[in-house]
Structure formats: C-alpha cells, structure tokens
C-alpha cells in the first residue's frame, strides 16, 4: 500500500505528517484566469458577477474520488490504436509524458488523468464540430490513464492540428490537448490545455490570454523531449502539471511536515 492509500502525506523532506488530509493551499488567483474575460467572448454570459464565497476546507473539499486500474482498458492511453478500425490514426506520432505534482513538489500517485483533442487536421469527433477538415475514421481523440506511484503518466497520440473558431472573425486555436486532473481532493480538480513548443498561435490565442501571468502561460507549453522520443518512430513532448498542495499542520504542538 502506498502512502496515499494509507492516508499519509509525504512532505518534501520525506517525513509523513500525522494529520493526513489537512486543507489545501489557497488558490493563487494571480496565475488563474478570472471568470469574466471579454477577450474570450463566451465568458461574458457564463461568469458569475458576485464574489465567490470564501470558506475553510472541510472533508468535503480535502477528499475526492479514487479510481482503480481495473476501470481502465489496456488501450485507453494509446490514441493511435484505441479507435483504430481499418488502420492507425493519421498524423505525427507523438508521445506525451510527465508528472502530476502538487505544489510541494510531491508526485501524486494513482490519480486519474484524462485527455482529449482534435485530429491531425484540427477536427474533433463531436456531433457539434462542423469544421471542414475531415474526420479520421481511425481516430477517436480521447484517452485516460492513472499516474504511477511517482505521479508519472504517459500516453501515445497523434499531434493535433490547429483549427479556426468564432471568437473574432479569424481566431484560431493553437494545437492543444485538453487535460482533466483529479489529484487526491475535490479542491484539486482541474481542467487545462497543453500547447506545443514553438507554436506561434499560442501567443495570440484569446483563450490562452485569459491567463493573467506569462509564467503560467509558459508552463502550459510542452517542451520537445528528444530523449523520450523513439528513433524512427515517435517524437515526445514533456508536460508536467501541478495541483494545489496540502498545508502542514500543527500536531501536538509540533509543526509537522516542514
């Protein structure tokens, strides 16, 4: 049984804390997008106008769902093969890998990572996507995996294409992969998007520009990772993600976990 399954939190120093599930660090709104960002027009009617309610965390926020390997299929993390009908998905063969960490630097083990994306032409397999680029009959565009005991994940896919969307007349989304992350607590739940190093569309994307901090934007851009690439086969990109960390707690008059 690993530490998380036993309800122990290992701190950066490796010492387990006695209070296993204290509250999470407060969310840094300087790096997170605001709800109301008129540059991304759809937010205008879908953003609360009242201030969010501030509360102290209880068990409802510091716990969250646990998933098991037997809930996933063997090909769930291989988008080249998991919807293959009469051939493999078309496009640049790509590995995406990295760690899911929390703000103290600890890898989050056994946490569910889900991902979805457009095909190599920039078209989604979705009944609402009418972009003129063709559907790839062998590409579904979604997958999922659980991190290992160190928080490491990987999956294989094809590199998605850029595509136009109606925000301004000529808005284009940079190539991106959507990620959904759980962590160990409902307060860590996060959805984000990964971009690719060197894409000039990132800097002019209205959705990217909802993020108020350039460093936070840069951390959404995956780096080409030649060491993880497979020669004559597949390029790799490295993408680490960070979820909120847990506060150390004063236990029996000793500050645990620092």
């Amino acid at each position: 049984m690993d530490d998380a399954a036993q309800g122990r939190v290992t701190t950066p120093m490796g010492k387990p804390t006695s209070n296993p599930y204290p509250e999470m660090y407060e969310r840094d709104h300087n790096v997170q997008p605001a709800a109301f960002t008129p540059i991304y027009k759809t937010t205008v009617l879908r953003s609360p106008r009242n201030a969010l309610l501030t509360m102290d965390h209880s068990l409802s926020e510091t716990t969250g769902p646990v998933f098991n390997h037997n809930e996933l299929g063997l090909l769930d993390n291989d988008l080249i093969l998991n919807y293959a009908k009469d051939g493999e998905a078309i496009g640049p063969r790509t590995i995406v890998h990295g760690y899911v960490l929390e703000e103290n630097g600890r890898g989050l083990p056994n946490t569910l990572v889900e991902f979805w994306q457009a095909n190599a032409g920039g078209r989604y397999r979705h009944k609402h996507d009418t972009y003129l680029a063709p559907i790839d009959p062998n590409f579904g565009g979604c997958g999922r995996t659980l991190t290992d005991e160190n928080g490491y994940y990987y999956f294989r896919t094809i590199k998605p294409g850029a595509y136009p969307w109606r925000n301004y007349t000529n808005s284009w989304r940079p190539a991106h992969i959507h990620f959904s992350l759980f962590g160990e607590a409902f307060a860590q739940r996060l959805i984000t998007q990964m971009y690719f190093e060197g894409d000039p569309l990132v800097a002019i994307c209205p959705i990217v520009k909802t993020i108020p901090d350039q460093g936070a934007i840069d951390r959404l851009v995956a780096k080409l990772d030649m060491n993880a690439s497979v020669p004559m086969d597949t390029l790799a990109y490295r993408f680490d993600m960070v979820l909120r960390g847990r506060r150390s707690t004063l236990f029996e008059n000793r500050l645990e976990g620092n």
Partner: protein
C-alpha cells in the same frame, strides 16, 4: 534579496471547451470508445440509503439554458462518510458507493441528472456538523476555471440553519440558491437544483 522557497505553482486552468464530452463523456459526443464509462449513476441496487434523483438546469446570464455543461458531484454516503482514506470518521463505508459522478446537460433540454443517495451529515471543522450536502463542480465552454458550489436539501431545515457554510453566505436571501427542492415523481424522490451562472438569483459559487 532573500532565499527562494521552492513551491511549485498550480497549473493554470483553461476552459473545458465545447467538446469536453469527447474526453469525459464520449457517448454524449456521439461515439463509443471505452469499455467502462464514468457516468451519472452513483448507485447500484445494493447501495444503502434513500435513493434520489438530482436534476436541474444550468442557466446563463441571458436566462438561456447552458446545454453543453459538464457537472461532477462528490458526496458522502448515507452514513455521512466519504469513500476516501482521508476520512477517518467512525462511520461505516458502503462498498457499493464511491460518491462521485459525472453528468452532462442534455443538448436539447439542458437538463442534467444524477442518480444517487441522500448523504448523511459530515463532521465539519471545529466540532461543528455540516448539514447533508453534495459538492458540485461544473465546467463548460466559456467557463475559464471550474465553478464549485454545494447542494443542500430542502427537507433539512434544522440542519441547514446550523450549517457553517450556509451561514457564511452574507446575504440570507442568497442561501436559498444552494437548496434543492424535494418532490416526488413516479414514486421516486427528486431534488431539483437549478444553477444560475449570472444575474438575478445567481447561485452562490465557492472559492474552495
């Protein structure tokens, strides 16, 4: 200058977008890919407690239904315990209840549904008990970072009146936006919980 502390920063959120269903609910996007899908039915025949339906609509600032929203719920079982190693309350776990589900609003009607059980009370901070509640998280196109709220139950008036979170809503008139209304339909218990993103009767969202 001083030393630096090596905390990492939380990854920035980005909208789930209009095609969130592909990744998180592919059936709704129009195709079948996974053997096992995560869905909106939290209960099996053996799950203990009062089986209920939670349903409602998400409404935008112009009064229109948001038909492409995805919601997730997280809750304690009928005894008031979370199925998670961090919950050390001395209450029974229910092997037939994880306490988590995922629902999409219907593209035509805008209605979302969960089939679950009514949760028990959960210990809050400082020895206070929280009224039965379900945590909800919603994402969609046009929502930059997931919105969190809580659903409480209309037939729990006394517990609601003592709930530390409900009481922290400064305007009492806004507390009712967190109360689902109980009714009966075809012999089933239904709690209706509409979520208003913006404007009059805007739901209280929580910076959890």
């Amino acid at each position: 200058m001083s030393q630096t502390i090596g905390y990492l920063k939380e990854t920035a959120s980005q909208t789930a977008g209009p095609y969130v269903h592909i990744g998180l609910a592919p059936h709704q996007a129009g195709f079948d890919i996974f053997q096992n899908n995560f869905g909106n039915v939290l209960v099996g025949a053996k799950t203990k407690g009062e089986h209920i339906i939670v349903e409602g609509r998400v409404i935008d600032g112009s009064g229109n239904f948001v038909r492409d929203v995805l919601l997730e719920c997280w809750q304690a079982n009928s005894a008031g315990r979370y199925n998670h190693p961090g919950d050390r309350q001395n209450k029974p776990l229910d092997d037939d209840f994880r306490g988590w589900g995922r629902a999409c609003s219907d593209f035509a009607t805008g209605v979302y549904t969960f089939q679950t059980v009514k949760p028990g009370c959960v210990a809050g901070r400082n020895g206070r008990t929280m009224a039965p509640h379900i945590s909800l998280w919603l994402v969609a196109r046009g929502i930059n970072i997931g919105l969190n709220t809580r659903l409480y139950f209309s037939d729990e008036e006394a517990a609601n009146a003592a709930d530390p979170v409900l009481n922290s809503v400064e305007l009492p008139s806004r507390r009712k936006t967190l109360i689902a209304q109980r009714s009966q339909r075809d012999g089933k218990v239904v709690y209706t919980f509409d979520i208003v993103l913006q404007g009059e009767n805007e739901t209280v969202f929580i910076d959890i």
